[in-house]
Symmetry: C2
Subunit: 199 residues, 2 copies
DNA sequence: CAAAAACCTTATCTTTTGTTAACGTTTTCA
DNA sequence: TGAAAACGTTAACAAAAGATAAGGTTTTTG
């Protein structure tokens, strides 16, 4: 995909948060860069500070932790979604997890430094603060739902919910990653699937 | 506590996010109001849009859902912390849970309307956007940790972590609420406590 | 102050999940 | 293309959690 098309996808993708007029967009775009992750390539690793906030124009990534030598997948992001090791990026602290491309993945990226410059730019500042606020608020709502699911639902109920609302995630993501995401083991997910099919 | 003292506590409490100089504070304070919740009084209930964002100057509250007629406590907030039915407040949608005072609780409050006015106020706007962004980012980091705990830890591990880091929460909050918060039943928490004591 | 409510523990039984391993299929990649 | 790795299912057993109920203590409240 050409950069121009990626930029347009980016602009459209963030329109739910904030819209830039052409003059603002002209100031904005020089601050962004582009990158492509090949399959299995890492965007972020444990111990390193994450320097970029990204928008995925195509592809998919998974977020995972390593605990007792085992990988545990906690989240996924797909095309037209934002991606970052948020906490590390915002707090400038070493990252505690990994982000890895599940497919070849194309990114539009903003570095932390450039973001700071935009936040200090006389014309962009207010809009960028708002952008940051709305993104963060958006994620809070997602997280709130996720925590609520862990608190109020059984693994089986969480699976059913995901199956209903998770688009075609089961077609796209290996099942054992999804099991981790649901907070259970792959074996347990396999059983749940069998159980719920029979009913 | 006198309102002046509450305001000072509020100012100090939000200083981790943003600091107001005296001139700004003078503009700021007329937008806030005060309230006291008596024990067991609800600040927010299911189905109603939450109109206030609060700072707790003294007391404590719990957040809970009702599922199949049962109350399930998902979170707590204490003095010097912010409190709101965030999602409802931000999105102007009916709230899906309850917030109830565990003790008599004193609040400094900002209404949604007043917040919007501050966000449009020429002097306050930028700082308020930043305030909102930093609060949201702060909560994202908290939520991220919470979800990570559900993904990577067993109930027993989550209990041990809470016992280590949860200050004196076990002295202050009924244990069956804490069980919900950990994602398990009260009976199960009682067993875990016995188990971990014996070791 | 006394009755009622709330709370924690314990016991019993059931259900679910975790663990480990084996097996067959599919995918990957050198 | 062919060996290796990855993946999903199933089985068997162990461990943990859920459900329900009973009992005793503490707290609440009229």
């Amino acid at each position: 995909m050409y950069k121009q098309a990626q930029l347009e996808a980016f602009r459209k993708g963030i329109a739910q948060f904030v819209t830039f007029n052409d003059a603002e967009w002209k100031i904005f775009t020089p601050y962004v860069s582009f990158s492509i992750l090949s399959k299995k390539e890492h965007f972020a690793v444990e111990g390193k500070v994450c320097d970029y906030m990204c928008f995925i124009t195509s592809g998919a990534v998974r977020y995972y932790h390593i605990k007792d030598g085992q990988e545990i997948t906690g989240y996924f992001s797909f095309e037209n979604e934002l991606m970052s090791a948020y906490k590390s990026f915002l707090k400038r602290t070493p990252n505690t997890n990994y982000i890895q491309a599940l497919e070849e993945t194309a990114l539009v990226m903003i570095s932390y430094q450039n973001l700071q410059q935009m936040l200090n730019h006389p014309i962009l500042a207010l809009k960028m603060e708002r952008f940051g606020r709305l993104i963060a608020e958006y994620y809070i709502c997602c997280y709130e739902d996720r925590v609520t699911a862990f608190i109020t639902q059984s693994p089986e109920e969480r699976y059913i919910t995901l199956e209903k609302t998770g688009k075609n995630i089961f077609q796209r993501i290996p099942q054992h990653f999804i099991a981790n995401f649901l907070g259970i083991t792959p074996v347990s997910l396999s059983r749940i699937r069998k159980r719920t099919l029979l009913q």
